[in-house]
Subunit: 220 residues, 2 copies
Amino acid sequence: MQNSFTEENYLKIIHALSGRDGLEVSTNALAESTSTRAASVTDMLRKLAEKGLIHYKKYQGVRLTESGEKVAINVIRKHRLWEVFLVEKLGFGWDEVHDIAEELEHIPSDHLVERLDSFLGHPRFDPHGDPIPDAKGNLTEPDYLILTDVEIGEKVRMMGVLDHAPSFLQHLDRAGITLGCILEIKEINEYDKSASVQIEDKQTLFISLEVSKNLLVQRR
Amino acid sequence: MQNSFTEENYLKIIHALSGRDGLEVSTNALAESTSTRAASVTDMLRKLAEKGLIHYKKYQGVRLTESGEKVAINVIRKHRLWEVFLVEKLGFGWDEVHDIAEELEHIPSDHLVERLDSFLGHPRFDPHGDPIPDAKGNLTEPDYLILTDVEIGEKVRMMGVLDHAPSFLQHLDRAGITLGCILEIKEINEYDKSASVQIEDKQTLFISLEVSKNLLVQRR
DNA sequence: AAAAAAATTTAGACCAACCTAAAAATTGAT
DNA sequence: ATCAATTTTTAGGTTGGTCTAAATTTTTTT
Ligand SMILES: [Mn+2]
Ligand SMILES: [Mn+2]
Ligand SMILES: [Mn+2]
Ligand SMILES: [Mn+2]
């Protein structure tokens, strides 16, 4: 029995919401993320439980089973590989690829995914810095810092984003903040908690707290 | 209002069945091609007519409108471009790509198609020799001959296939008949109407009538 | 021109994925 | 511990795309 487009999306979202410790996900949270109503989510949860893809007890929230986890991670693998393709091969900006990948991730051919992966040179990360699961379904989240946790004077490398919204990514483009670039925190401005950040040893600019909260970085 | 996956498939199939002169297509023919029942086809035709995509009068068969033709040709463009991608970039065989392209053809981004087209170098033909419509929707079917219409002694170039079934394409692979290769009809065998054909000035082999009927070629 | 055969449409139903409104269970506050 | 607020589920309905069976129209044969 094949999983539908919609089922795959639910599984992917349950995976995202349950975080790295596989916490229980609530019906309302799913309704929010899927842009549907709680009643519709309940219907779908019954079906996914029926198929053995989630652990579900009424009123108790939901977790992925082994097999649900496998499906979810495979969808994530496809999503991120296609994003790499769109950026690296077709020249899209990192702010343009999410919605297209949201469709491509449901194309159902293992053969296709493996060939795409090798065509792309087995990339480890997608254009937003998110790790790409391997063919066996291993997904290791690197533990990056959030820019707000970095001390004044430290130099860090920009490794990823928490917010994937086009408007956020475009804002980073305008600021010259790209994946891999070096950032140095010069000071934290008392007034609005913004950070003065020097980018690639060149210009220094104000980064709002809102932005800092969404930047993943690594000490070096 | 967007067209669904299913609607696009109907339009594409109506296009294919109505041929180059835009003949009327019957309900039963569509049921056959869509692997559904005539009753289901009738339902869908009412909907497509509602949306202005087809000309449909009860019991009278169906033709595409201008706007239906545009949609159909765009789906065909996407199908064939993705097939080129799968063969040229991912290394699939020409016998493996149809089903995957059948899914990819419904990914709805004009931006994506145009970038894919230029990534592929604006190919004119797909891996089966079928012409790829341009971005404006112009589709010109080259007028090839069928191998059965070629006289003994003539040399022709192999330009395409009528049957796209994997088993047929694999049979051609085993025979060494590839797109662009030169074929010379040595004789027609009385017994089974098979043709003795010399391939690329090398080995000569028997080509059954069944196969000959499905090979498109060009005089040279 | 009638009857028979074939093609097509209508009627009535099903399933997936959604909805609203109402009922039930859980959580949290006093 | 009770009551109120919140969350979740159930009940009943809609839409898209499909089905079977029956009715209707068209085509073919006699
Ligand atoms: Mn994405
Ligand atoms: Mn991404
Ligand atoms: Mn298709
Ligand atoms: Mn093709």
